[in-house]
């Protein structure tokens, strides 16, 4: 089995290095095909491992080699395949394989084709390290690795100012969170003496609560960055500057869920500190509705989907925070499938529309792009949580968990968000595929994507439909060997049915409202004049609550100004000037006293005499002082010195 573990882990790396070999030469198909095949290998190995874990109900733990060893610290490159990590491995390799194949078509005309696959496969490798590592340091390797690849892929089209800016923003914001994570790791090390999961978590029980709370908070700060939770969320929407397959893989299905994975992985820690868990859940619920509101008005399909990702991450954190770790993981999995599908569909639309992203400029695309329409619609249905698609099972469970635990505010917020989700998802579906044709007038000639891209997407479609009702039971069985097996059942049947059906009705009503509102023939490309666009609400939402503006104005700008002040005013004018001042003091003294050296013998003799007198008087003073030293001491002590 170890062989399969290493194959699963390292074949993306091999693929990445293979593509990197060609990264500076002209486009070759092989740079895309070989990494895709290798990912297929990785997927197969992961599947074998999954069946191994399922079949034997045991876990696989290997230690490849030592990484760091000094003092009491020992960190190996160790990997573990257990129920949780194998789930993540399956999600990661599956979505990656699909996205790789899809990207061969999507990036077809791009000059950086080879480079793209090098980065993309490197990302998969980092992600595999992240989920498979058996210690926090290894997790941190993957954590930073995915950050690096995300940087490279968001800024993939590096000629674009906005893309590189977004890449740097994402990296730096993640770094802020990584500091929190690092501090969490330090705390763990100094309190438990190790970073291995299997040593750390059992040791947690003996620590005092304050320490645990701090560890929990710092680790969660790390998770907040990667999973783009408020207030570190702005990078995710800007990250949509990257190519769409990247958005599908990194910024929807895998990397952003790393934070959720971390919380799930540390469940034994968070179980000991329910207050922090409640905070996580509350923040999750807040982010869910916060992001959903921003998605309501946005006029960029990728950003809408990005906000919906953010919102769904909020759901996952809400579940994880409430202790429903397996539910969070389940939603993570289901979400990965339908959200990646949604993004890839959006990629098809972008391709057809020459990278136009404003859905108001589309309309009626359903005629030419039937398959894309079907896929995106089904993905949106899954996202909205309609029976029997994947989202229903996972999302409904989160709602139930909140309800059963009597966190009614969280429940209410999440319920409301479910309605909003349905509305904005179908708002863009309606705008893109239905209604009047608005794009021909603008000079677009849409066409359906390559067949193999659609075929590549089909596994995701299948999973988005069936993964809910097919896997729920088995998944629960599997992961609860590791995670707390809390079942969330509302014991009162009547309440259960009212709740479930009520939710469904509410969501379906939202969908119909969205269709009705945005399919009407008098939808025009907004020009900023309508009353709605003038309203404060709209402005607040379209400007993302002015948070990016706030960051730019009150964090980035002062930082830049302060840096300039530090350099020009303090470093040059104070610190360096002091040094030069001391040096100059010598120079000026010398310059001024050289006048003494007039060369005139008479003057020199006068100086000589003055010096003689000075020395003689000093001699007299010291002589007297030495003779009368006793009485001087008495006098001084009398003065109180």
């Amino acid at each position: 089995m170890e062989l399969f573990l290493y194959t699963a882990l390292f074949s993306p790396l091999v693929g990445s290095l293979f593509a990197a070999l060609f990264s500076m030469s002209a486009k070759t198909k092989w740079a895309g095909i070989v990494p895709s095949i290798l990912l297929g290998v990785s997927l197969t190995s992961s599947t074998i491992l999954l069946f191994f874990v399922l079949g034997t109900n045991s876990t696989l733990h290997v230690e490849m080699m030592t990484w760091m060893e000094t003092g009491g610290l020992y960190i190996p490159f160790g990997f573990v395949v257990d129920q949780v990590s194998v789930t993540m491995m399956m999600v990661v390799t599956l979505v990656s394989t699909v996205v790789h194949v899809y990207a061969i078509g999507y990036m077809d005309h791009d000059k950086g084709f080879n480079r793209f696959f090098a980065w993309l496969s490197a990302f998969v490798f980092s992600m595999m390290i992240l989920v498979m590592s058996d210690n926090f340091a290894g997790l941190f390797i993957g954590w930073e690795g995915v950050g690096l690849c995300s940087w490279g892929l968001i800024g993939f089209w590096y000629q674009k100012e906005s893309a590189t800016w977004a890449a740097n923003e994402a990296f730096i914001m993640n770094r802020i969170a990584d500091l929190g994570m690092l501090i969490g790791i330090f705390l763990i090390y100094w309190n438990t003496g190790s970073l291995q999961y299997d040593i750390v978590f059992p040791a947690m029980a003996t620590l005092d609560t304050t320490t645990l709370v701090w560890i929990g908070i710092f680790l969660f700060i790390g998770a907040m960055g990667k999973s783009a939770q408020f207030p570190l969320h702005t990078w995710l929407a800007d990250a949509m500057e990257g190519p769409t397959p990247v958005s599908a893989l990194i910024h929807a299905a895998t990397m952003v869920t790393a934070g959720v994975y971390l919380v799930v992985r540390s469940n034994e820690l968070y179980a000991l500190i329910p207050n922090v868990g409640l905070f996580i859940a509350s923040l999750g619920a807040f982010v869910a509705i916060f992001a959903a509101t921003m998605a309501l008005v946005n006029r960029d399909i990728k950003r809408v989907i990005a906000y919906s990702t953010l919102s769904q991450l909020g759901y996952m954190f809400a579940a994880a925070g409430l202790g429903a770790y397996w539910v969070a993981l389940f939603h993570l999995m289901a979400h990965a499938f339908f959200k990646a599908l949604l993004f890839l569909g959006a990629g098809n639309v972008m391709h057809a529309m020459d990278s136009e992203l404003d859905p108001f400029k589309m309309g009626g695309l359903g005629k030419g792009m039937k398959w894309t329409m079907i896929m995106m619609t089904l993905a949106s249905v899954a996202l909205a949580g309609i029976f029997p698609l994947a989202g229903f099972f996972s999302k409904d469970l989160i709602l139930e968990a909140a309800f059963v635990d009597h966190h009614l505010i969280i429940y209410g917020v999440l319920l409301l968000t479910a309605g909003l989700t349905a509305f904005y998802s179908f708002r863009i579906i309606a705008l893109i595929f239905h209604g009047k044709d608005r794009h021909t007038a603008l000079g677009f000639h849409p066409h359906e994507a390559y067949k193999f891209m659609l075929i590549a997407m089909s596994p995701l479609l299948l999973l988005a439909i069936i993964s809910g009702f097919l896997f729920k039971g088995g998944f629960f069985e599997m992961v609860t060997t590791l995670l707390p097996a809390t079942e969330y059942h509302i014991h009162d049947h009547l309440t259960y049915w009212i709740m479930t059906i009520g939710t469904q009705v509410f969501v379906i009503a939202s969908i119909f409202y969205a269709y009705k509102k945005y399919m009407s023939p008098d939808i025009k490309v907004p020009d900023g004049t309508s009353a709605m666009e003038q309203s404060f609400k709209y402005k607040l939402l379209i400007n993302q609550y002015y948070i990016p503006h706030f960051y730019a104005e009150y964090l980035v700008k002062p930082y830049r100004e302060l840096s300039t002040i530090f350099w020009e005013k303090i470093d040059m004018k104070v610190v360096d000037a002091t040094v030069d001042g001391i040096a100059n003091a010598f120079y000026t003294t010398a310059e001024q006293t050289r006048g003494m050296q007039s060369g005139n013998l008479s003057t020199m003799l006068k100086w000589m005499v003055a010096g003689l007198i000075g020395l003689l008087s000093l001699a007299v003073v010291f002589g007297l002082a030495a003779r009368h030293s006793d009485s001087i001491v008495i006098m001084l002590s009398g003065l109180g010195v």
């Binding site: 050289r594 003494m596 050296q597 007039s598 060369g599 005139n600 013998l601 008479s602 003799l605 006068k606 005499v609």
Partner: protein, 101 residues
């Protein structure tokens, strides 16, 4: 009144002061040499007197040394002075400023 050590020392001091003032005030190089001689001889008087007072001949020996050195110094000095006078036709100190820093 017997002439004691103090009288000699006072004389020496007076001569030294005269020499010192001369060294400081005189602009003529020749006069400067005279002033230096006065300085040296004032010291010689002090040496001789103290030597006599302690009954130790070292001081008087030292005075001879000083006289000898002073003589050679004046010889060299006067030689330079004459060369200088021949070249520049004056021996005013204010013109001797090639050592300006």
């Amino acid at each position: 009144m017997e002439i004691g050590l103090n009288h000699y020392l006072v004389l020496s001091t007076i001569l030294f002061s005269i020499g010192l003032v001369g060294v400081m005030r005189r602009k003529n190089l020749l006069m400067l040499f005279f002033a230096t001689e006065i300085l040296l001889n004032s010291v010689n008087i002090a040496f001789a007197a103290i030597s006599h007072y302690y009954g130790d001949l070292t001081g008087q020996m030292f005075a001879f040394f000083v006289i000898a050195i002073a003589a050679s110094e004046v010889a060299v000095g006067l030689g330079l002075l004459i060369v200088w006078h021949k070249r520049y036709n004056n021996i005013d100190l204010d013109y001797l400023n090639t050592m300006k820093g």
